[in-house]
Amino acid sequence: MKIYADNAATTKLSRVSKEAMLPYFDTIYGNPSSLYSAGQEAAEAINRARQIIAKKLNCEPREIYFTSGGSEADNQAIISAAQIGARQNKRHIVSTAFEHHAVLHILEKLKKQGYEITLLDVHENGIVMPDEVAAAIRDDTCLVTVMYANNEIGTIQPIAEIGAICGAKGVLFHTDAVQAAGHVYIDVKAQHIDMLSLSAHKFHGPKGAGVLYAKKGIFLTNIIEGGAQERGKRGGTENVPAIMGMAAAFEEACAKIDGNTQKLTALRDKITEGLLKIPHSVLNGDSARRLPGNVNVCFEGIEGESLLLYLDAQGIMASSGSACTSGSLDPSHVLLAIGRPHEIAHGSLRLSLSEENTHEEAEYITEKVAEVVEHLRSMSPVWRDLKEGKKSYVIQ
């Protein structure tokens, strides 16, 4: 059995998305900037894609900027807000401790340039408190950036409340919605979102395509200089096939939100319930306010990379916040941000489901994870010390 349970990393391209892309490789292959009909056909196509995405986000097509993906959109949004702030002598940014590195690393860079960064606590449940956002905003705050849903623990943030607070205080609000787009309903107007990033390959679209939504009137700073593409805000010939695939995938994913939410929530809760029966395990992040397909559990006394390798041998593809999987010495900053100690964070497992996963697979996953955890514990000196009472359990 081969089970793909790492949809937060990337997803399988949907048939609809693939078919939407195909004509733009070798039939309508013109450059959208060219005047002849083959070029103009491509230009019209990407305008249709822009309209589709705008409609689903409830914004204007001219507020959609195509990028190479979520990271570029995050970078451009934050750099633009920082530049706007600098012109008004505002150099304070509010964000959270568990943002994606595409956000955190840009914030670190801005810090070196003299910006002040406030990273809000995300508490043990992995959810930002809107009143803490309000309290953190100062007269010199130029941006609040809070992710829509966390990529590791899947917790969904109170975006509309945060948006309303920012709107009332006149501060720009950006959200990294890479994990949320196509999985939960987004309405940039109702939720008072000024800027938003999304990435096609997280909702069964192709890799290498993303969107930055920026509300009319927000002056964007170019990350890529070049031609007049994207209203002059993003140089480079448009990735026409990927843009077409992204729009088709987004339309399809949005149409399936209700059905997938119901299906994935049931699978998620079934797996979570099964995994939490393993002694000394704990769920990471709020059990209800999380993405329908996200399960993230820590098991005491084991290390995550070895867990993943054994699961892979059983045909299960998943992910972990262990340091060993990242190539750095520290485990996941997200798990540390919700207060998990290092030794516990190393023993985490993330399963991120899609509509293709089944109840049978959920049962298989639960069974195999329990077996592998038991096996790894049987050879773990940490587990022996806990079992023999030489150390006390962190997870009860």
Binding site: S306, L329, P331, M379, P381, R384
Partner: protein
């Protein structure tokens, strides 16, 4: 693939896993905070390592390195065990990815630490400079495990 076939073999089928009751020397190195702990148990008869077992909390290469290191010292004189280098462990595994080399260092240190424990228990004099101390570890020098 991240790992060689040999690493995967020793990871999936680790040799010498377990503990030795009444071991003559036990060495534990690493730190749970850093994600790796290795514990090696030795039974020593006439300066020969007659039995060796290990327990490891860590990633695939940590488990494979422990397994390989125990295979390499089993039945060997102590002097030979002490000359085991991390490089030799990594080579015997057909190489480790660069950021996993520290796992082989831990294996070398766990063996040395178990022998040191044997020396201490038996009042045998030894050259302390030839044994690892906490400060020699990269994690510690970077202050990562404090």
């Amino acid at each position: 693939m991240l790992y060689s076939e040999k690493v995967m073999d020793h990871f999936m089928h680790p040799r010498n896993v377990g503990i030795i009751e009444n071991a003559d020397g036990v060495g534990e190195v690493g730190n749970a905070k850093c994600g790796d702990i290795m514990k090696i148990y030795l039974k020593i008869e006439n300066d020969i390592i007659s039995e060796v077992k290990f327990e490891t909390f860590g990633c695939g290469s940590a488990i494979a390195s422990s397994s390989m290191a125990t295979e390499m010292i089993k039945g060997k004189p102590i002097s030979e065990a002490l000359s085991l280098t991390n490089k030799a462990v990594a080579e015997a595994l057909d190489g480790l990815p660069p950021h996993k080399m520290h796992c082989s260092v831990l294996a070398e240190e766990a063996v040395k630490s178990a022998v040191e424990d044997y020396y201490k228990r038996n009042g045998i004099n030894y050259d302390k400079s030839k044994f690892p101390d906490c400060e020699s570890c990269d994690y510690c020098s970077e202050g990562k495990c404090k």
